[in-house]
């Protein structure tokens, strides 16, 4: 496996995220109807369709790609997830210092993105939000990258950590977002945002695995 991630790979990631969100749209909405307002699937699908519609030719750089994705998400999703996923991508771009994207720099970009989500949404680990998937994922990425993993290997570790984090949201009582209104009744359900965030990392894993 290659140590470098091309902008084409990242475009493929974004497209793969769109595809998997479309496939899981009804599931995301069903999860959101259990502890929210039944729109997370359509929100994400609408936003990612808009993103893909914007991706004409390959953007000049990863930074440009992430800026476009982030701005498009912000301006087309709405709800809580729009500004949060938008911020994730908007913060990733500037964190990529050079055009050389490797495991370390992509990990740093992801961490910058997740830090941005935390700064916007003020959620902590265990609040039953997308952070519960995103935060362990970047930790796992960094650990793997520190051990010399390729981007594909780091993505595999991150996706696994995200899925575990997503599953761990089930028993939690939500403290942020719409599910928090349910109090104790929010326990016993997966968080929709943690579920879509896991799809994001799984899409990265699958894309990088394919782009050997």
């Amino acid at each position: 496996m290659s140590a470098a991630v091309s902008t084409d790979d990242l475009v493929a990631w974004v497209r793969a995220f769109r595809d998997t969100v479309q496939q899981h749209k009804d599931e995301l909405t069903r999860l959101d109807s259990e502890i929210g307002d039944a729109d997370h699937g359509s929100n994400m699908a609408r936003g990612l369709d808009a993103v893909v519609a914007k991706l004409g030719e390959t953007p000049a750089s990863a930074a440009e790609l992430f800026k476009t994705v982030g701005m498009t998400l912000v301006s087309s999703v709405g709800g809580a997830s729009g500004p949060l996923y938008g911020t994730l991508f908007l913060r990733m771009g500037p964190a990529l210092s050079s055009d050389e994207v490797d495991a370390a720099s992509l990990g740093a970009a992801l961490r910058a993105g997740v830090d941005g989500v935390v700064a916007r949404g003020k959620a902590e680990l265990g609040d039953k939000t997308m952070i519960d998937a995103l935060s362990p994922a970047v930790d796992a990425w960094d650990a793997a990258a520190g051990d010399g993993a390729t981007p594909a290997e780091a993505a595999r570790a991150a996706a696994e950590a995200a899925a575990r984090g997503r599953d761990a949201t089930e028993p939690l009582v939500a403290r942020k977002g719409r599910a928090s209104y349910l109090g104790e009744r929010s326990a016993g359900h997966l968080d929709p945002g943690a579920t879509s965030a896991t799809l994001l990392l799984e899409a990265l894993r699958d894309t990088l695995a394919g782009a050997a």
Partner: protein, 331 residues
């Protein structure tokens, strides 16, 4: 799903067409999904902008007009509008005197309006924001998203809209908005779920003999599910937590009993017939009252009660002329 729709994914855009056709006094910006007054903002008048997910009609678009909002940004059904939409609304109505953003306390609304305010400021528009968080069904704490914003929003938009119409400056408008916001408490009860068109089925399932207490306007389930009760018992479930939350005698107040979209007026009046004596008993002096569909949750059967403690200035501004599709008097 039994609804008047063509494409369940395109409900908002199509509803806006109907609003445009029915209300020549409003301007509908179809691209940005912004409803504003057809007349430009008078020079020097502070503009009021609100918005939120759709499905709560007449809120917010139905409260655009003289004496109330200048513009409303309409998000997708139950989804807060994007910063672009709010920015477009803000720029469309700023006369230079500044804009007040009226935001209901939901993570999505707060984040999107926040970003819009940053963008507007960058464009040189003065923006103040008020966040309404009046829903006593939600336990508040610094560790949570806090209370939802519901019926107090309607009362605030009316009262503060009247002050802006009188020519008050942005600081005064924002200050009153915060006072009204702090003076309001709400509580909702749902007898049925609602159906988000794009989801195609009810957001939650409620057995025939149960109801959701403390339901929000986004069709999210309530805080507790209890056996269906009589109107009298339900009235108590609404009045008690609202009155209790004030923590002190309420005194003069403006009261709003809003249907949630699927409850006919005859039931709303019946319920208000039970609420009125309970309010009186609890020391709430109802100075003004509205009963009807003002802030709804699509086709949900249910109602929400809002009590806003009102001083003389608020009552005076409440009585000032208002000309909107959803609220109209004095002109």
């Amino acid at each position: 799903m039994k609804k008047f729709v063509n494409d369940p994914g395109n409900v908002l855009a199509e509803a806006l067409r109907g609003i445009e056709a029915a209300h020549p006094e409003l301007r509908v910006d179809a691209e940005n999904r912004v409803i504003s007054r057809a007349e430009p903002t008078r020079a020097g008048k502070v503009a009021l902008v609100s918005g939120g997910g759709s499905g709560h009609e007449p809120l917010h678009g139905g409260f655009v007009g003289r004496g109330m909002l200048d513009a409303a940004a309409a998000g997708e059904v139950f989804t807060s509008p994007t910063p672009d939409q709010v920015l477009a609304a803000t720029q469309a109505v700023d006369s230079g005197a500044g804009v007040l953003h009226i935001v209901k306390n939901y993570t999505g609304d707060v984040l999107n309006f926040e970003m819009a305010a940053e963008l507007a400021a960058a464009e040189g528009v003065q923006v103040e924001s008020v966040v309404v968080a009046d829903d006593v069904a939600v336990t508040d704490s610094t560790w949570t998203a806090g209370r939802r914003g519901t019926g107090t929003t309607v009362v605030l938009e009316k009262i503060v809209g009247a002050l802006a119409e009188e020519g008050a400056d942005l600081a005064a408008v924002a200050e009153l908005a915060r006072r009204v916001s702090a003076a309001g408490r709400s509580m909702g009860v749902a007898l049925t779920s609602c159906t988000v068109p794009a989801a195609g089925r009810p957001t939650f399932e409620l057995p025939d003999d149960e109801m959701e207490v403390g339901v929000g306007i986004h069709g999210e389930p309530g805080r507790s599910r209890v056996k269906l009760a009589s109107a009298h018992e339900i009235a108590k479930l609404m009045v008690d937590p609202v009155v209790h939350d004030f923590g002190e005698p309420v005194g003069p107040a403006i009261v709003l009993l809003s249907g949630l979209g699927g409850t006919p007026l005859i039931e709303q009046y019946l319920l208000y017939g039970e609420i009125a004596p309970l309010l009186a008993e609890a020391g709430v002096e109802v100075k003004r009252v509205l009963v009807g569909d003002y802030i709804t949750s699509l086709d949900m059967a249910g109602a929400s009660l809002t009590v806003v403690r009102a001083d003389d200035e608020m009552l005076r501004l409440w009585d000032a002329p208002v000309v909107t599709p959803g609220l109209r008097w004095g002109a």
